[in-house]
């Protein structure tokens, strides 16, 4: 008995562990495979990638995801997916997004001048009195 570590922790005393406890180094695969976790904090919100974990199956990945990413605040949904099943861009291809310098033609900010044109048009109409306004809006 005296070979066992006498710890302050009663659980460790009960464990009966020796200082020279043998250990077989872990083999590859001991920690299973990796999953990515997506979390929704409230209904109507998007699921957001919150991190990854190791699990032997999708069912256990969900159990571990609850422990790992659902301990605080609120959770309304969680997804897991095997990391191996995710396809990503190559990092060296990321510069493809740098090609378009200016994307005003596909953003609402590209169409903010209508009020100016309308006011100019109205002004010209007034100046021309009751004329037919055929020159208005010639921009």
């Amino acid at each position: 008995m005296s070979d066992f570590i006498q710890s302050l922790d009663p659980r460790i005393v009960r464990l009966q562990v020796r200082e020279d406890q043998p250990f077989e180094p872990k083999e590859a695969g001991d920690q299973w495979e990796t999953y990515e976790v997506f979390h929704q904090a409230k209904t109507g919100a998007r699921l957001i990638h919150v991190g990854s974990l190791h699990a032997p199956s999708p069912d256990l990945a969900l159990v571990f995801a609850k422990e790992q990413y659902g301990r605080r605040s609120t959770t309304t949904d969680m997804w897991v997916v095997r990391t191996a099943d995710i396809f990503t861009l190559h990092r060296q291809d990321i510069d493809m997004f740098e090609t378009a310098q200016e994307k005003l033609h596909r953003e609402p900010q590209g169409y903010m001048e209508v009020r100016k044109y309308i006011e100019e048009f109205k002004k010209r109409q007034q100046q021309e009195g009751t004329s037919d306004g055929s020159e208005a809006g010639s921009h």
């Binding site: 570590i5 922790d9 464990l15 180094p25 872990k26 695969g29 001991d30 990796t34 790992q68 990092r91």
Partner: protein
């Protein structure tokens, strides 16, 4: 917690390969602009090596740090304290999971990291090689060691490696509870009976030195390459973090009528810096090299736990499993 605190570098730095100067310049410019480095970006060999070491040892510190605190779960004074301590210890183990994943993105497998912890090759924070003798020790750990860890982690969360920053942000968010819980537990004892006050004073006496050690040796004897600062791997010096801790916590400790076991501890009115006794750095190095009061127990307990769980992990393993490093 447990912020890793200071853990020494590998004794024999491997020869780093010569880096492509163009790629290196691009990498450094990116960090200068405040952008983060992500797992599949190009990075210098030495950046990767230092980050693996740092994140891995931080993860080990969370796992081992759960042991001294876990000691008091069965004997926590009352149901509320027991619930809180279980939640805290579970958080620490959860933080290890986050950190191991962040380190894995750099290419070292989790199996290899755990093997290196258990063989003694890889270190963990020295502070956990000391025993938690009484409930008051658990209270002091939860308040002051976590306070130190939060200073360390908040600093590191402004680093340059994306996955580590994201893990640290989540960890710091969860640890705000640890710090309040620890303070509450210490205050309950310090404002209690004479016996309770004595208990918390004794615990402070035992832990003060390890806490001063926590941030690492003074800058004048510790080597930080300027490179690690430039690459935002190291963001504050050991002394800077220690000063920050003293600034924030010495007044709070003294407010409780507790005496800090350092007769010369005071703030120099001219420099605005704290002056303190030498916390015996020889002891620090002796303990971190395996000769502290609990080093052997900590590793033996982890080895036994790993061995006892081995058959479960094997039974659950899917023969077609396919390990890939976590994405981010």
């Amino acid at each position: 917690m447990y912020g890793g605190g200071y853990i020494p570098g590998s004794a024999s730095p491997q020869e780093a390969p010569k880096e492509d100067p163009e790629k290196l310049a691009e990498f450094e410019e990116k960090i200068n602009r405040g952008e983060k480095i992500e797992p599949h970006d190009w990075m210098p060999y030495e950046y990767r090596r230092q980050l693996i070491r740092m994140i891995e040892q931080h993860a080990h510190s969370e796992i081992i740090g759960a042991l001294p605190e876990g000691t008091w779960i069965t004997r926590a004074p009352g149901f509320k304290r027991k619930l809180a301590l279980m939640a805290k210890v579970q958080d620490e183990v959860g933080h290890a999971q986050l950190l191991y994943s962040a380190a894995e993105t750099l290419g070292k497998s989790r199996e290899q990291m755990i093997n290196d912890l258990l063989s003694g090759k890889s270190k963990y924070s020295n502070v956990f090689n000391y025993p938690a003798k009484t409930w008051a020790d658990a209270a002091i750990i939860a308040w002051l060691v976590d306070a130190g860890a939060i200073i360390n982690q908040t600093t590191n969360s402004k680093g340059s490696y994306g996955p580590y920053c994201r893990a640290l942000e989540r960890i710091c968010w969860e640890e705000s509870f640890h710090l309040r819980y620890g303070y509450d537990t210490v205050v309950a004892l310090a404002t209690g009976t004479k016996k309770q006050r004595q208990m918390v004073q004794d615990a402070l006496n035992r832990w003060w030195r390890p806490i001063m050690h926590f941030f690492g040796p003074p800058d004048k004897i510790s080597v930080h390459t300027e490179k690690l600062v430039r690459w935002k791997v190291k963001l504050a010096t050991n002394d800077e973090m220690r000063q920050q801790f003293l600034n924030m916590y010495v007044p709070k400790i003294r407010e409780l009528g507790l005496e800090i076991p350092d007769p010369i501890l005071h703030k120099d009115p001219e420099t605005g810096k704290w002056v303190y006794s030498d916390p015996d750095w020889d002891e620090f190095f002796r303990v971190i090299n395996g000769n502290g009061p609990c080093n052997k127990e900590r590793l033996a307990v982890r080895k036994k736990a790993e061995m006892m769980g081995q058959w479960v992990r094997r039974a659950l393993r899917n023969p077609r499993q396919q390990y890939v490093t976590p994405l981010a």
